[in-house]
Symmetry: D2
Subunit: 341 residues, 4 copies
């Protein structure tokens, strides 16, 4: 059995561990061979594919990025499934492991359902916004990097008696902000799921300041204050829908300074959160998912993906993972309230 592997969408710490886990498992216990598809769907559409051996994957589980490259090419562009079928047939590829986030998995599910392509999935996102999986690899690393940054910024804030605003990633969900904010001891955590208004933010900042602390505000890139001007909300989104340059953190900092009289600085962590070595947690999770994906392929479980449930790796349908965003639930938001302010 020959398995094609591709990584698609934004890169994510742990991708290489998935690839290694799959290749090691497939070669050693299933006598499979592997084909590395370059840059996600682009490589499949353009037949940019090369053999992938155990030698190619040695020592890579701790390396950031993806040795296969990635892109945002859409699977239904450039000839789409018909073109893919030609490439797959010519290459003798029997199954495809697609490692990606919401868009990739939705595309893969459709390729299976509508076009009968033999695809299984591995969920990937630093944002942790995929449903039907407890966590996705990449999230732990992103939360760890954000926490380390918050630790650093705290000392400079305290020395200068400043308020510090830290903008973290997360797209439309607040998981990275919630976890790094809890871990870093933030006085305000601002997430898209629960859009508090400006006055609440100022109140948290003032409360921390009144107790002699340097107020620390962690804000998810997708957060928008309740009652914010629409102009604020629309300004400066980049091609991924993320707020560019200005950013919500840079929007909030001067407003906090004006409202509270406390000198305020903003830091936008940006791409730091998705690069570099994955944590041990993410390496283990990614390796296990890669190995499980090979089982799915061996069993012909097209349309299924490997998923974390508690401490187990289970099989769920890709469609169930992308059906809706996994939001921070009310209970987690209630839980964190006593830590704020």
């Amino acid at each position: 059995m020959n398995i094609g592997i591709l990584t698609s969408g934004g890169d994510c710490p742990g991708l290489n561990a998935v690839i290694r886990g799959a290749v090691r498992k497939g070669v050693r216990s299933e006598h499979m061979t592997f084909s590395g598809i370059r840059d996600g769907w682009r490589g499949l559409l353009e037949d940019d594919i090369a053999p992938l051996t155990t030698h190619d994957v040695r020592g890579i589980s701790g390396r950031g990025g993806t040795i296969l490259g990635t892109s945002r090419t859409h699977p239904y562009s450039q000839g789409g499934p018909e073109q893919m079928k030609r490439v797959i047939a010519a290459r003798g590829i029997d199954a495809i492991i697609a490692i990606g986030g919401e868009g990739t998995l939705a595309g893969a599910a459709r390729l299976v359902r509508d076009d009968g392509l033999p695809v299984v999935g591995v969920p990937k996102t630093i944002d942790n916004d995929l449903d039907n999986t407890d966590y996705t690899f990449g999230f732990d690393t992103a939360a760890e990097i954000a926490t380390e940054a918050i630790d650093r910024l705290r000392t400079t804030a305290e020395s200068h008696h400043r308020c510090m605003v830290v903008e973290v990633m997360g797209r439309n969900v607040g998981w990275i902000a919630l976890h790094s904010g809890m871990a870093g001891g933030a006085h305000a955590i601002l997430i898209p799921e629960f859009p508090v208004d400006y006055e609440q933010i100022y109140a948290w900042v003032r409360s921390a300041h009144d107790r002699g602390r340097a107020p620390l505000v962690v804000v998810s890139e997708g957060f928008m204050p309740a009652g914010a001007d629409e102009q604020v909300a629309d300004k400066g989104r980049d091609r991924d829908g993320r707020i560019r340059l200005g950013g919500i953190g840079n929007h909030l900092a001067p407003m906090i300074e004006d409202a509270t009289g406390i000198e305020t600085r903003s830091t936008l962590l940006g791409h730091l959160q998705r690069g570099g070595q994955p944590t041990a947690y993410d390496r283990v999770l990614a390796t296990r998912l890669g190995m499980a994906a090979v089982d799915l392929a061996a069993n012909g479980s097209w349309g299924q993906m490997a998923s974390l449930s508690g401490t187990d790796i289970v099989s769920v349908s890709m469609e169930s993972a992308v059906d809706k965003l996994k939001l921070v639930p009310q209970q987690r938001w209630d839980e964190v309230q006593v830590l704020l302010g």
Copy 2:
């Protein structure tokens, strides 16, 4: 309501985050007051107790160790429960949150069951050996530190074409070795639950070496090779039952060198694994457990402890957590086989 908190047994990254989470939650939403009990059961038996305020716990969630101190004093020594009752009554303490591992929780469960003391628990162990909880805080940090060490040792091993043996903690279970070995790309992972023999170890080392790799062996301190001389097994345990000095890593290294002819070095990570800043994962888990323990106390759920189940914090009985060790299961052992050798 006045809550006494104590930390008992070996220290563990995240203890301070539990303490902070409990105090913040209790003071802010339950109008509780807190008493810090010094050095575990010792402080309770000797009335070494001081008020613990939100001021005392500010900024501590990222700090290693425990601000309350810890000891291995047994709860049934020095007057035991009767003495504790006198201290509790004199101090006006209404409930005790005991943060500890197997021994602490077993003692706490008995204090509730046999002596009617108002105790709730928070599970703590870097070894991840407690049952009825998915993970315990401290484990993620220990596995991360071990993985970083393995990453470092790999480069020196490769430069010298050596085999490197790394001994990690874990007491009688292999979780730290399993996770850090998977994350670090080990060629042999040796854990107490599955005692392979010397020949299997040599075979893994030779296999990696034959492929041009520097063989990397991760061994859990509690591992003993199948067929090992009893003298080896008994030698040099310290007061905690851990192998001292010599250690299993130092035992294996010369044997591997002699059997395979490959120069072999051993490193014993030791206390590095339990000190220093907790990872973001552990800080979040520990904070949530501390907050949940306050709910248990508020509800009078004596004998219960806060526990991780999937992504939820739930309540389970302390007895269920210590009833038996949580071993690495057969399925996880089978899963990792394709990565070895």
Copy 3:
């Protein structure tokens, strides 16, 4: 002898190690007592001063920030030297150790020269722009943090075949960019001392891209391309003269993308570079400088500061350190050329 200590200007990893080194040395070998002056010159002008004991400084050498707080209050504001003299006399302070950068040391030198105040100095700046000292503490930490960030960004850049622009601190000099760029393997290093034009930048980016690399551009915040529009140069400086928001990195990224056709992203490291734990190098240097400053005070060497020369700590005049900026010299610029492109 009673010594007042103050930290002034932007905070810097290592400040606490200076304070600890001075107090330990003064108390133990010179029988001095110490007074902690809050928030730089502000505390001296407003008599915000408290005793500083060896107990206060224990365990702080590895902590970021400054336990004394800092501010940008000017020494010749609020009553200036006459007011200081009153405070010093009332407090019984015999000497002041002023820890600060260019502005602080220039102010301190003038207080000695014009007003006869008993001040000695310790040079501090992450920018490494002080003359007559080989390095200043804080610089090594800043360069290390920037390098770690570049390492992270490289993997994401490579996975996406992108160009990555990283803006680092440094004010009007390029030391942080030079060192982190060399350490991180940058393909373009842009520093204020050597303002190359846009075409040169594009050429370096194209050259790296043509060899299959993800082009990595490290730019110092004070860099301005030769031939840049004056509007670009003036836009968006903050109160410290640093480029705010937009920043030079954010200016360059779209221009590079447009000129080369290579997708380009920008990251502004910002305050991350000056917070958190100092490196071992900075802790040792800072500790030694703190101890040497006590010797200067004991000897009445007013107007002198402790300085690093090779591996020795020597005494130089504060005026000599601030007389001119320490620029990256031509020879260091020539040296790095073969690494670019």
Copy 4:
């Protein structure tokens, strides 16, 4: 001009940065070609040599170890200089850059002086024991790793009210112990150059304990207490003359515990200190040394090596670097005294 490069002796963070710096410089500005000699002198004696291109060295400056491999093969074994001359002639090698420590540089100096081989050097040692150079790359990384370890061990020691002994590398000199001990806030620093007796060690430990601290002892592997039994001194040296297993830290810990009554634990950092990613400081220094070595080769400066003097890279004779060990001088020992106890 064709340049052979070799790395010899114990591995050291920064070796790859030297190799990259040399190759980039030589290829780009001197039109040289390079030959990678495997495993130090072994590769030269056995003609185990391959072309080394700029492609081979891309992205390696941050990687630990050495891509060329290393060994302890002596240059005067296996046919020695005559054999080397045959290999060099056959390969068309015009110069050799030997990167190594005391033994390697002494051998290289002799090959130049006695046998007329065209060799220049780059000094390398984590121990910082080479004379006539301010620092050697690898030392900063080793001191940083040791300091991070000490930071971790401190928290566990404080929680348990224990004394912690940390044994660091350094061979016959105390530089790593001195710097990591200063940076980590050690209460006792024990180095070979100044062999204090057991009573002094106990006094430092008691003094720290009496002030409520967890005593922290940093001991260099080459330290031996004044008045120590000769049996202690001789026991358990490994092939490199380093104390194996037992180690001086493991020797001291029970003695401290017995003498002071304070529970004491020992940690031996071992090979962790020489592996993994080099610090930014070491990468910059190593890169500059590699580039300077190419200049030496281009100029035919046989017998010379690149060396750090202040902030400059200069040329000194290899013989001057190995003539005597660079010991920790009396003045640095006096300086650190106020920090101990």
